[in-house]
């Protein structure tokens, strides 16, 4: 009976795999078809004669390399900043006793509840006042501190024995040294996960760059690809799907390599 259950599970798993994999396959397949074929025979699964015209058009119309560089730079900068800030903050919350700790903790929790959609209006106006809209800074700095990252670091630090810190203090190490040179390496898996989760989120972010940028100086790739869906004279689906493939490829590759870390970061750290 166990074996029967096994095949039943496999079949069911196969169905779900199809539901999640087919759309990507469709995306890739459409990107290789010429436009006429999509109009004439939309449900054909494979292109009759695959061609790269759509990709040529995407690269012609959209500075893919530049937008991708901006997206990656933004995501890396945010991830790095978040690690930089989360380590001491998580340390203070995990290891130190001080007056006002509860208040600080409550503030961190409060941040988790405030989504960017509530703050973007005011943040945009703030940046506008100092003429910093449409800049790299406006895309990065608002995310410098991560409440989630702080929590995960704190959680990971809770299971680090106090003795290590006490020993380091006896050795005369400064608190900064302890945080960045002693504890950080111990927390490497957590830090990697936090960075990756943040990277993936901010690389793919559509909303914040949409509201913060006004032209293509620091336009990110998701925005560039979304613009491929042009109004009026018929959506060029093969071009749009080619753009999609280009957009998704880096993330999927990263996912393939670092799946374990991403899963851990999402599933609650440590």
């Amino acid at each position: 009976m166990k074996r029967g259950k096994g095949t039943w599970a496999t079949v069911l798993a196969g169905v779900f795999a199809a539901i999640w994999v087919l759309p990507y396959a469709w995306m890739a397949s459409t990107s290789l078809k010429p436009l006429r074929e999509i109009a004439d025979d939309p449900t054909a699964p494979l292109p009759r004669a695959p061609q790269l015209d759509a990709y040529r058009e995407v690269f012609g119309q959209v500075p893919v390399g530049r937008y991708m560089l901006v997206s990656v730079a933004v995501a890396v900068a945010i991830g790095a900043l978040q690690l930089l800030l989360a380590l001491p903050a998580g340390y203070a919350l995990a290891k130190l006793r001080f007056v006002g700790k509860r208040v600080a903790f409550a503030l961190v929790v409060a941040c988790l509840l405030v989504p960017p959609q509530v703050t973007f209006v005011s943040v945009f106006l703030m940046f506008a006042k100092v003429s910093l809209t449409n800049t790299f800074a406006s895309l990065v700095v608002p995310f410098a501190a991560s409440a989630l990252g702080t929590f995960l670091v704190r959680q990971a630090l809770l299971s680090v024995p106090d003795e290590i810190i006490e020993a380091a203090r006896l050795d005369g190490a400064s608190e900064l040294t302890i945080i960045y040179r002693i504890l950080a390496p111990l927390l490497r898996p957590t830090l990697v996960s936090v960075f990756l989760v943040s990277f993936v989120y901010h690389y793919s972010d559509y909303f914040w760059p949409l509201v913060m940028t006004t032209d293509d100086t620091v336009r990110t790739l998701p925005l560039g690809i979304a613009l491929l869906k042009e109004p009026g004279s018929g959506v060029r689906w093969h071009v749009v799907m080619a753009g999609n493939v280009l957009l998704s490829l880096p993330v999927l590759v990263l996912f393939g390599i670092a799946q374990k870390h991403l899963v851990r970061g999402v599933g609650g750290g440590g």
């Binding site: 106006l125 790299f136 006004t214 032209d215 620091v218 109004p231 004279s233 959506v235």
Partner: protein
């Protein structure tokens, strides 16, 4: 190993600081001249496909002849997205000198004092725009105001008929509302296989109907009456055709998605006659597998079409050098050679009288009867009021209500009364 993580973080920080510094600079200082000392002329545009190619070709020609200017065209999506970005850029004081906006929003931007009056720049006042296309004929009293807007791609609604289907049914394009309903009835096939008529449920076409019914969206004093009885009649025409006669399909999707569906349905033979913009003459002719017959919109009490499309505008806050360059570009753009090039390649209405004359002399209109029909229809153009609330009333108040009224068959009179009440309220 501990040192490595920390030094990585420090190294990252340095890179970050460097990046931030360069791009803080990029956003903040907005140099007027580029590295080679040329004046930077930023142009935000929203044209796609062939229209974009044509526009960029004109930009290229200008660039060739003016090597003291460096033109930077940036694509910004559709009209509405671009307008949103322009307004926020103005608020953030980082707007480009030149962009183009929908006709109905020009009064709003002008009243908010964000636009430059172009009269002072050499040659601008003398450009012989076609009446109804330029600011003078497009807005009531437009000729008495400072010149804020230069036409780019101007258009009117136009009716396109599937020549093959009409010939088979022995029909000519409908000339009155009555004929619209009758012809649609004759040409509809049941089960959604073919609809007689299709038109995007949008303010623009509704305004045309209101005019045809003898009404006007704004009265002489500039109050938004929304056409009164004519407005109700216009809305009811659509509702009846969709829900009772079942000869019309309201295309799904918002804004230009709906326009796109209309075009595709027409090309695919699923809609026998459609109303859409003159801007699509070339596109539809090129992509249809049947003869495309354009016709003026029908009358009820009279013939009436609004104008649409966009005007170039120059923002006031841009650096003076950039604005001068923008004015030079505009004069170049309006020269007969470029105006005819744009019009012939895209199907947009030619913007200056000399351009029209040249095209006629070249036999263009003889070869392209549909364009001739569009030209002739200009005689029925009704001007917009120079009313700052025009755009908000259109986008915010009327358009969504038209959509819901047609899709859900709500009471036309009540819907328009609701809209009227909201329109009369300030800001």
């Amino acid at each position: 190993m501990g040192g490595r993580v920390a030094s990585h973080l420090v190294a990252r920080r340095q890179v970050l600081a460097g990046l931030a510094a360069t791009s803080l600079g990029a956003g903040c200082s907005r140099p007027v001249r580029d590295a080679k000392g040329r004046i930077r002329l930023r142009i935000w545009y929203t044209l796609g496909g062939r229209n974009r190619e044509t526009f960029l070709e004109i930009v290229r020609r200008f660039q060739e002849r003016n090597d003291d200017v460096s033109v930077e065209p940036v694509y910004q999506g559709d009209y509405f997205e671009s307008l949103a970005k322009l307004r926020t850029a103005i608020a953030a004081k980082s707007a480009p000198a030149l962009s183009h906006v929908v006709a109905e929003v020009v009064p709003y931007l002008a009243r908010a004092r964000t636009l430059t009056a172009l009269d002072a720049y050499p040659g601008m006042r003398e450009i012989p725009f076609v009446r109804g296309i330029g600011q003078e004929g497009a807005f009531r009293g437009g000729g008495d105001l400072p010149l804020y807007a230069v036409p780019l791609n101007r258009s009117t609604p136009l009716m396109y008929c599937n020549g093959e289907l009409f010939a088979k049914a022995g029909l000519a394009p409908p000339r009155t509302w009555q004929e619209v309903v009758e012809h649609a009835r004759a040409l509809t096939r049941p089960g959604g296989e073919r609809w007689g008529h299709e038109v995007p449920i949008s303010w623009w076409f509704w305004v045309a109907l209101v005019g045809q019914a003898g009404g006007s969206v704004f009265d002489e004093a500039g109050r938004p009456t929304l056409g009164g009885e004519a407005g109700v009649a216009a809305l009811r025409l659509w509702q009846d055709m969709v829900h009772r006669e079942r000869v019309m399909r309201p295309p799904p999707g918002r804004d230009y998605d709906a326009w796109n569906v209309t075009n595709q349905d027409f090309l695919g033979g699923r809609a026998a006659f459609i109303w859409t913009s003159t801007a699509y003459i070339r596109y539809l002719e090129d992509n249809a597998r049947f003869p495309v017959v354009a016709a003026p919109l029908p009358k009820l009490a009279r013939a009436s079409v609004p104008t649409g499309g966009t005007f170039f505008v120059v923002v006031e806050q841009a650096p003076e050098a950039e604005k001068i360059a923008a004015a030079r570009f505009l004069t170049f753009f309006c020269e007969p050679e470029n105006a005819t090039y744009l019009s012939m390649r895209t199907g947009y209405l030619p913007i200056t009288e000399p351009a029209v004359a040249k095209m006629r002399a070249d036999g263009f209109f003889a070869k392209h009867p549909n364009d001739d029909v569009a030209q002739a229809q200009l005689a029925s153009v009704d001007a917009w009021p120079w009313e700052p609330m025009l755009f908000r009333i259109e986008r915010d108040i009327v358009d969504p209500r038209l959509e819901s009224a047609v899709l859900l068959d709500r009471d036309a009179r009540a819907v328009l009364a609701e809209a009227r009440a909201l329109s009369e309220r300030p800001g």
